[in-house]
Symmetry: none
Subunit: 220 residues, 4 copies
Amino acid sequence: MAAQAPAADGGQKTTPRSARGVRTRNALIAAAREVFERDGYLDARITDISKAAHVASGSFYTYFTSKEEIFQALVEQVQEEMLHPHLRERTGITDTRKLIDASNREYLRAYKKNARLMALFEQVAQIDEKFMKLRIERGNAFARRNAKLIRTLQDDGEADRDLDPLVTAHALSVMVSRMAYMVFVLGQRIPFERLVTTLNQIWANALQLGDPEPETAPEA
Amino acid sequence: MAAQAPAADGGQKTTPRSARGVRTRNALIAAAREVFERDGYLDARITDISKAAHVASGSFYTYFTSKEEIFQALVEQVQEEMLHPHLRERTGITDTRKLIDASNREYLRAYKKNARLMALFEQVAQIDEKFMKLRIERGNAFARRNAKLIRTLQDDGEADRDLDPLVTAHALSVMVSRMAYMVFVLGQRIPFERLVTTLNQIWANALQLGDPEPETAPEA
Amino acid sequence: MAAQAPAADGGQKTTPRSARGVRTRNALIAAAREVFERDGYLDARITDISKAAHVASGSFYTYFTSKEEIFQALVEQVQEEMLHPHLRERTGITDTRKLIDASNREYLRAYKKNARLMALFEQVAQIDEKFMKLRIERGNAFARRNAKLIRTLQDDGEADRDLDPLVTAHALSVMVSRMAYMVFVLGQRIPFERLVTTLNQIWANALQLGDPEPETAPEA
Amino acid sequence: MAAQAPAADGGQKTTPRSARGVRTRNALIAAAREVFERDGYLDARITDISKAAHVASGSFYTYFTSKEEIFQALVEQVQEEMLHPHLRERTGITDTRKLIDASNREYLRAYKKNARLMALFEQVAQIDEKFMKLRIERGNAFARRNAKLIRTLQDDGEADRDLDPLVTAHALSVMVSRMAYMVFVLGQRIPFERLVTTLNQIWANALQLGDPEPETAPEA
DNA sequence: TATGAATGAGTTTTCATTCAT
DNA sequence: TATGAATGAAAACTCATTCAT
């Protein structure tokens, strides 16, 4: 599947053919991140991106058509770095509470680390429909996965059967991501551990998971 | 407290002295809402607002200094219409579950009714720091109130004592407001009743409220 | 018909509402003519037109959308000045040779007077399809009128019946206009009278008109 | 005279020394024709010409300095193909009417065949003075030749002595070339034969040539 | 107060041309 | 010779804001 990769270049302007070209393009993306994070999407001028990348203003257009397009490229680059799916398979965790904890923890840590960028994404989503749609789709995919998990737990009698799985999945998701935004972007002063713990607990309670296994009671 | 709506006149330009002036000012605000909702905050041109209000472009500046300022005025006007605090006192509801239901229901209904405007607020908050701060403060105030309630419940043994009251209050709040955004602004297709019910249930579970009183126990 | 005049404003930008506005718009058109004639259509910068009209660069856009549009306005204005149709009705001339002479003479005189502008039209027609189409249509209309005249002469036995009336009309027309271009724009040194006389004679010969009436036989 | 095509190398950039160079240069000229005819002179970008010739953009400058220069080269190449002077000597035709017919016919046929290119020449002449001057000179030379012919005919009593030979020569020339433009470039719908015949007849009439010799005297 | 014309700062974008490899 | 990336000058255009009437 991924092996075929039909080179969905999406009408990019120029894929650099020379090593120098690759360097310039990357310099531009890095500069864009810098300028975007510093000035915000709206106030970022293409001129400044070129300047920050130490290339002539026109060189920007060798690789990108617009501010939107370079932002797109930036998003893609960052996403590769941030995305860590298949937590369960990766970690081997089976206990639901522990899975929730690992998942929330990983998410919040990544969010914190890239807070300025996440703020930027939030902003651009409000400005550019295309990015908003991307976010929605990603959120939906994520919620569907979680809904399936919830449904399984319900079937196993381990989660509250009164809950609509999909709505619940959405609700708990947005709760976490929005709290991340509040704390790491808006600066709401909540200690990391307390944040994770509380969110974990709300998840557990909301689903009505059974009491946690005694953490590791090594006896006595 | 909030009922008094004090000060915060923020150096507005002119409070009209003539009846005609009042009319023009109101026409401008109404036009602003129309244009903002239609074009979004960024693409709304002051010229268009004047045009929509059927006044000359220069007349705008008789009452407002900038787009930001008229947006401010719009927000204030709308807030008066939307704000319904003191739910408990107003309704006399004492049962926690019922209070939660009433509160969520009222909020979601209002959100749905003013969805375009709420989208606008969301957008402007991403663009204008001042509005973002306003939102944060309002959110904080709301969360503090709810945290107090949660603390009381915990003290009474009616809510999970492991939860940090303030963080929980925040988390449950943003969960509801974000779901409202998702459904009424982004168009996520979730039926209103299912949305309310699920959110209510998540609240109740999260807090670990006791089983609901039998809905109508007309006897005993 | 004309009384209804559905205000075919053709999407013009602003029809000035104030006297000042009218003055500015006219100043811009006059400046445009000046700049176009001096620099040619292609090299004329909108900036320069504004400058020549002594208005700010932005003021141009109060009245026009583009270079093309102001050129359009200029053409229309000039055309009103140059167009003198219905020669026969106007002058009462009935003799064909005299009519040809009056017609050619009038045309060439007007062309000479507005030579720079005619050069400009020629140039723009080569650059902008819209103007080319206008010219074609005008040429066709003119040729159709002349073709009708030729047909009448043929029917009366006064013109060579072997000629295709429409093709002939076109041919004689373009001959005159092209010679005007050659002489008054390109500077081919042919005295005005010789030009008119020769063209008249070619027309007369081409149509095989009978010998001219003796001009004025002042004697017996 | 014209057959020698002397000098006028106008400082061209490089006459390729290698066979590969010759190939590249020709590819560029061919590509230029293609791009010019497709996009018009003004919109043709040097980049596109290089692209169409399958060479790197920089390679253009190995052979040409500018768009103007490659256009020049194109013109020269085409002219060699199109020019067929010395019609009389070539064909041996002596009858004036037949000579006119052959001349017009040959011209119109060539014009039709290369219509797009002729349109291009017309356009460029309006844009670039140098090309305009070339056209003028060529036109003058042609007219002088024809004027000489007319003078001879007049001297022999075979043409109207009232006509100024040079003006007439010019007039009849531009008539033909302009009609060719109208029909083959602008698309005026006139059948080829009717066009030739009518133009021939106008020439004959204009000069007042005597009646044609009976086409083929099948008798005697 | 209302009008609507005038202002002009500030970016984007194109593409011919150069140049290091 | 060929390559293709880098350069940067030059104009268009928008629209918030001012101001004379």
